[in-house]
Amino acid sequence: MLLLGEVEQLVLLAVLRLGDEAYAVPLRALIKAEAGVDLSRGTIYATLERLERKGYVTSWFSDPQAVRGGKARRLFRLKPPGVAAVTAAKQGLDRLARGTVAARPARRKA
């Protein structure tokens, strides 16, 4: 199995979280909100392109907008190899962080 880059991991997890509504706009917003990383739009699209070529995600087009000249969304879903890859990456990180300060839960602010 190929190693996943950090950005690829973030995008795969975000696609997993969003389920059937995963496309570029909410993906970017979710990654920014949860991980605090502001990825450029180009990075999001390029990563999705690469992940699809690797066979980790699949895409399909939604119904087009109900207006003249309406455009369709391109939606993404994880494929089993993608699930396995991101799971393995996450578990690997958890094992590595065991017993270190990185494994301690984040303190809640009073």
Partner: protein, 865 residues
């Protein structure tokens, strides 16, 4: 409306598969934030470029891996292609590593555009040099307002022994004290020369040490700066203080190129003296810095005005024209035609290699056509196919370049032995960053050129016909391209082979030319006599006899004779006897046995007797050229018994000897030989240096210590040095030899590449016409008919190319002619022979595939189809 058009235009940058989704997403983001169409267009542009970069890089990686795998599978083709291109580019790497510093790399001086070189041109010794007469130089130095300062320099013209420098001789040059200031540079360590007027009289003189010598002999120790060294030249010793270290990469600005310069010794700047009132025979090679704002043309015009009165006043200057050239051009103009010819020939070899690579790629393109058809059917764009076709050539060219660079680096020592000595000091390592960068750039450009053929073929792909019937449809088009390339290769090959034939012929003519003496085992022993006895003429005979007797009975000495100056040096003023007659010539004093030692035949009459030499009898010997010069039109034998008037009186000509020609390309000088003790001979005696020419047993050298010891017992302390006569001749043959070797190698490489290209095209032709061959043999054609058919197919384009190449050679001959010796670059017999060689190569290279084709089983071929 316009903004919408702008957004649509920006969306075109986005790959088609993403365009609709990106447009929808950007529209969704733009609305809530109140962002306009301009924002959408900018975002679309950014997203599109990023996507294309990602897809492009991935495609590049994919195509690269695919090409490497494909080339690794076709090992024979890959090896042949790398070898052929490595030959072509390796030749250029080797040539460029020598000439880059000479011709292209910026000179290591400050503001070099304001530096100029002044010269007429003269030939000094074995190395030509661009100089001007000292009197003219002084006039320019004194009065030229366009010139800020003038200096002069000479690269190493002599070898010295320097105490403390080790046993290897030191090559020393000379320069005026203001040289570095004129060049605008400072020493790497220590200080510059003291100005002439500030240097204290007496005491050690000054020298600058070369950076490489400082590194190799002194380990860059600063202790050497300020040290005083004893420098020995023949019987004289002088002291020099090292005052500084020259910068790394420093080039002595002298048109007399030298293999290396270890030491630059300061000399008085004669240009500043202003003391010449008459033309002399000494010259100087000045470097000048123009004043700011003054152009070279303005300086040349002013100098012509300053020199004009001297030309009117002195007949010696009547034809003198001072040339003002940019410094680089001035330093190397004596060699420029030769170097440009070498560059041209190397470029020709590269061109042949490119054409050959293109031919090989074209032949390989048969399998590529099917792959291209499949990829096109699956949706690949034409650009993607072109890129894939080009990347094969690029991988091959880069691999060849790396192989060539490593080979040149590994073989650099062997390569240097064939490079003329005056160029060796300028060579850089094959792994020099500039050279590596340039090689890779040339390789990639060559890859693009070589891939043109296969790329053109891809544009005419008929997908349906190829998938149904294979690539026969495209084969004929590819064949036409292949035959055109063959013809081009043949044309270029003719130029190379013709150049080689002329160069080899010229070199052999020089090498086999009779020099008038036997150089094998002949040694020139230079004797520095004690200075205190030289003024007394009564000591001439005893000293001469002491020198002759020192060699009597010496081990391995077969014959010896004495001459008042070395016959191998040309840079001497015209001799008194000939100058009196208004012509150039040479005059020597010789002992009675000199011609025997030299192996110079006495053509008519006899040589001197011992008594005639001892008594300074009024006799003389002439060379054949001398006899013809004095009595033109008369048979040489008739001069015996005639009288000539010399400064010492009327002398009877008792013998004529063969002309001695040391420098085969220079005009022959008439020569006069007098007894060594002749009253009118001053040279040699006045400078306390005589020369013994010694014929040794084969392979032996003179024992200098024994000679010095024997002479020490009779005439006092004598310094002794020797050099073999073949060493004197060698430099004159070095460049013709190099030229013959270079062009011969280029021609051999060109022929090899042409043969490989012909073989590849012939093999492709055989495969393509397999069915046709089967049908012909079924209908009754014999194996011989098939062979003739296929060989003719290869030979005809080569013959046509050779004919075109002969025309190209006719045009190019003018550039080669000046470098040939008594050979016509347009000799028709040479042309005919070269064309035959090319055709024979074509026959030989196409024979094997033709023979293979004639062995096919026609029934099996017909069954296949």
């Amino acid at each position: 409306m316009r903004r919408a058009t702008l957004f649509r235009a920006a969306l075109l940058v986005v790959p088609a598969a993403w365009r609709e989704a990106v447009a929808r997403d950007l529209a969704e983001e733009a609305e809530p934030g109140g962002r306009g169409t301009i924002w959408c267009a900018c975002q679309a542009l950014g997203v599109g470029l990023r996507l294309r970069r990602t897809i492009g890089l991935d495609a590049l990686r994919s195509d690269l891996c695919g090409s490497i795998r494909s080339l690794a599978r076709a090992r024979g083709f890959t090896a042949a292609a790398i070898l052929t291109f490595a030959l072509g580019i390796g030749v250029n790497v080797a040539v460029f590593s020598v000439i880059d510093r000479l011709m292209f790399r910026p000179l290591p001086y400050a503001d070099p555009e304001r530096l100029v070189h002044l010269h007429t041109a003269s030939s000094v010794g074995s190395a030509p040099e661009a100089t001007i007469d000292v009197m003219i130089g002084q006039r320019i130095f004194e009065r030229a307002r366009s010139i800020q300062d003038m200096a002069w320099a000479q690269a190493s013209g002599f070898e010295l022994l320097v105490d403390g420098f080790g046993t290897a001789p030191v090559k020393a040059g000379a320069a005026s004290a203001n040289l570095l200031r004129v060049l605008g540079i400072r020493p790497a360590a220590g200080r510059d020369f003291t100005a002439d007027r500030e240097r204290p009289a007496g005491g050690p003189s000054e020298a600058l040490l070369a950076y490489d010598t400082w590194t190799t002999r002194f380990g860059r120790s600063h202790e050497v700066i300020g040290r005083v060294f004893d420098v020995h030249v023949l019987n004289r010793t002088a002291q020099y203080r090292i005052v500084g270290i020259l910068p790394p990469g420093f080039i002595v600005p002298s048109s007399r190129l030298a293999e290396r310069t270890d030491l630059v010794m300061v000399r008085h700047n004669r240009l500043a003296d202003g003391d010449r009132t008459r033309p002399g025979h000494d010259t100087v090679a000045p470097v000048a810095r123009l004043r700011p704002g003054v152009s070279r043309e303005q300086a040349a015009a002013e100098i012509a005005t300053l020199v004009a009165p001297l030309r009117r006043q002195f007949p010696e200057y009547e034809h003198e024209r001072v040339t003002v050239l940019p410094l680089r051009q001035g330093l190397f103009f004596l060699y420029a035609p030769y170097l440009w010819l070498v560059v041209g020939a190397a470029a020709l070899v590269l061109l042949v290699a490119c054409v050959n690579l293109g031919t090989l790629l074209l032949a390989r393109g048969r399998s590529r056509a099917q792959e291209a058809a499949v990829r096109t059917a699956l949706g690949a764009s034409p650009g993607r196919l072109v890129f894939a076709a080009t990347i094969d050539a690029a991988i091959l060219c880069v691999a060849s370049s790396v192989a060539a660079l490593l080979l040149c680096r590994w073989a650099s020592t062997a390569l240097m032995t064939v490079v003329p000595f005056e160029f060796r000091g300028f060579a850089v390592s094959a792994l020099d960053p500039r050279l590596v960068g340039l090689t890779l750039a040339v390789a990639l450009a060559s890859a693009l050129a070589a891939a043109m053929g296969p790329v053109r073929g891809l544009r005419r792909i008929d997908v349906l016909s190829i998938l149904q019937r294979g690539d026969q449809g495209a084969g004929s088009a590819r064949l036409r391209s292949g035959t055109l390339l063959l013809a081009a290769e043949a044309a270029l090959g003719v130029v190379l082979v013709a150049g080689a034939a002329a160069s080899v012929h010229s070199f052999l003519g020089l090498a086999l030319r009779d020099p008038g003496f036997v150089a094998e085992d002949l040694h020139s022993v230079n004797l520095g006599l004690p200075a205190d006895q030289t003024a007394d003429k009564s000591t001439r005979v005893p000293r001469l006899r002491a020198i002759r007797e020192a060699f009597d009975g010496m081990p391995d000495v077969e014959a010896a004779g004495v001459i008042t100056r070395s016959p191998f040096i040309e840079d001497l003023p015209p001799e008194t006897f000939w100058q009196h007659l208004g012509r150039s010539g040479r005059e020597w004093g010789v002992s009675e046995d000199l011609f025997e030692a030299m192996g110079t035949p006495v053509v008519y009459g006899r040589t001197f007797t011992r008594a005639e030499v001892d008594d300074d009898a009024l006799v003389a010997i002439l060379s054949e050229g001398g006899a013809r010069s004095l009595w033109p039109g008369e048979p040489v034998r008739n001069v015996i018994g005639r009288t000539i008037q010399t400064k010492g009186g009327n002398r009877e000509v008792v013998g004529v000897v063969a002309d001695v020609r040391v420098h085969p390309t220079l005009p022959l000088m008439p020569a006069l030989f007098l007894p060594a003790t002749a009253r009118e001979i001053e040279a040699g005696w006045s400078s306390a240096t005589l020369v013994a020419l010694v014929k040794m047993a084969p392979g032996r050298s003179p024992d200098r210590a024994l000679i010095a010891a024997r002479l020490g017992e009779t005439i006092g302390r004598v310094s002794v040095s020797s050099e073999p006569a073949v060493g004197v001749l060698a430099p004159w043959l070095e460049r013709p030899r190099f030229q013959a070797l270079l062009f011969g190698s280029f021609a051999a490489i060109g022929l090899l590449l042409a043969a490989m290209g012909i073989y590849a095209v012939a093999a492709f032709e055989v495969a393509r016409r397999r069915h046709e061959v089967g049908v012909r043999m079924t209908l009754g054609a014999s194996a011989g008919d098939i062979r003739r058919l296929l060989v003719r197919g290869a030979v005809l384009p080569v013959a046509a190319g050779a004919a075109a190449g002969l025309g190209l050679t006719w045009w190019a001959a003018r550039f080669l002619q000046s470098l040939l010796f008594e050979v016509d670059a347009r000799d028709p017999w040479t042309f005919a022979a070269v064309a035959l060689v090319l055709v024979a190569t074509a026959v030989a290279a196409s024979w094997l595939p033709a023979r293979r084709a004639a062995r096919v089983d026609p029934a099996a071929v017909l069954r296949e189809t």
